[in-house]
Symmetry: C2
Subunit: 249 residues, 2 copies
């Protein structure tokens, strides 16, 4: 089976790399950004083009959500399988006469991070059962964690990921702003952050909650509010209100 | 030096255990909760009392912030050092004629968690330099990460910890509510959570941000908002607004 990856961003790069590592041959990586594609091509030994899309059995679209319709409409071949990699698009977003699918890796991809691809869960949806099997076999070469999905489920997987990853990272960024402003090295908080995450492998997060809000420690909450402003204060209030509601405080 | 720990909660337990592990002898653990103290005493081989506070050189108060003034006022001995363990109280909250100090371990303590105490940063403040040295030597037996602090700094360390630990844990709890409601196993998100945290050891969190808000993907943001309600929606909006402001979007 000839596979082409379309895109040159973080997802395209890591998808190409994970295929490479799993000895899945990628026939071409295709996109607009010559500089990026050239780098990926050189690193992974995969041919690339910005002009002529190679003929293939399967196209994996790793482009921004808003580009999926337009880019997919340029695949004029009909006897092929096209899968997007988005958590928030139905397979119908793919515009063409080919067979449609979704191939969603649940992970946060930053360019220069080494990843253990074998830990990534993949969520597969296809119009035809046979295509789902093809994509599950492909994903299964990268990781043993391969699951059926559909758009309804995928949307909620993506939302959960936004809370558990994107928002968590933003809390770290805002936390670092606070500590940086006081010349407190953010590295002090590494063991605390590690324990926060390690703890929930054994304890449901709802049972692991600590801090002033769950203790209903109004003196500390007021002390902190008086020291915070702007977005820090907005986050502080919203999160504490949500903690109070969760525990009926 | 005779040391007494006052309190029977998570901090008292882990403080006693970390001393035990570091071969620092604790003369007594003192508090109100007979059942808890009896358990700690049995596990760690430390005498306990709910009635008679032992004579000691140093008392470590591991009680709730709101109890520090009252409990500390019951230490009538004058020639001794009393330290609280709070991130949000000045040493003056200690009420007595003894020498006052603060001994603040930066960690989240849940009862049944094994902890690597040698990773915990300790922040020390004392009225007298000699007492600071005594407490730094004590903390130094538990962990090599011992720092001077003062109330101003401690407050901001605590606030940063609330963002990086308490709020992060709450996001995990809310994320799990969302996935549970859709019968999506929360274990799917473990590699994503691990990578979110591992990433910021190499990349400042501000540079590691991913997700729809930082991509200014308004279609996905609206899709998600339409699927969320209550506190989930409140958190979703506040966090995304803060992300947009951080990156001038």
């Amino acid at each position: 089976m000839d596979i082409v990856i379309i895109g040159s961003g973080n997802v395209a790069y890591h998808l190409a790399k994970s295929c490479s590592r799993s000895h899945v041959k990628i026939a071409q990586i295709f996109g607009r950004n010559d500089a990026e594609l050239s780098k990926i091509s050189k690193e992974l030994g995969i041919p690339y083009s910005t002009e002529t899309l190679a003929d293939a059995d399967c196209y994996l679209l790793a482009v921004s959500d808003h580009a999926v319709a337009e880019v997919s409409s340029r695949i004029t071949k009909e006897d092929c399988l096209v899968a997007h990699t988005s958590g928030s698009l139905p397979v119908e977003e793919l515009k063409g006469a080919y067979r449609k699918a979704s191939f969603y890796p649940l992970q946060t991809f930053s360019r220069n991070r080494e990843q253990d691809y074998s830990k990534i869960p993949f969520f597969i949806e296809a119009e035809y059962e046979n295509d789902a099997e093809i994509l599950k076999t492909l994903a299964g070469k990268i990781s043993p964690h391969v699951f059926d999905s559909n758009f309804e489920k995928r949307k909620y997987i993506h939302i959960t990921a936004v809370f558990a990853c994107n928002f968590v990272n933003h809390l770290f960024a805002r936390a670092q702003e606070i500590s940086d402003a006081q010349d407190i090295p953010f590295s002090y908080f590494e063991p605390l952050i590690a324990e926060t995450v390690n703890k929930i492998r054994e304890l449901p997060p709802k049972d692991a909650q600590t801090g002033p809000a769950v203790r209903a420690d109004h003196r500390v909450l007021e002390l902190h509010e008086a020291l915070l402003g702007g977005e820090h204060l907005a986050i502080y209030k919203t999160m504490n209100q949500s903690i109070k509601k969760m525990y009926d405080l």
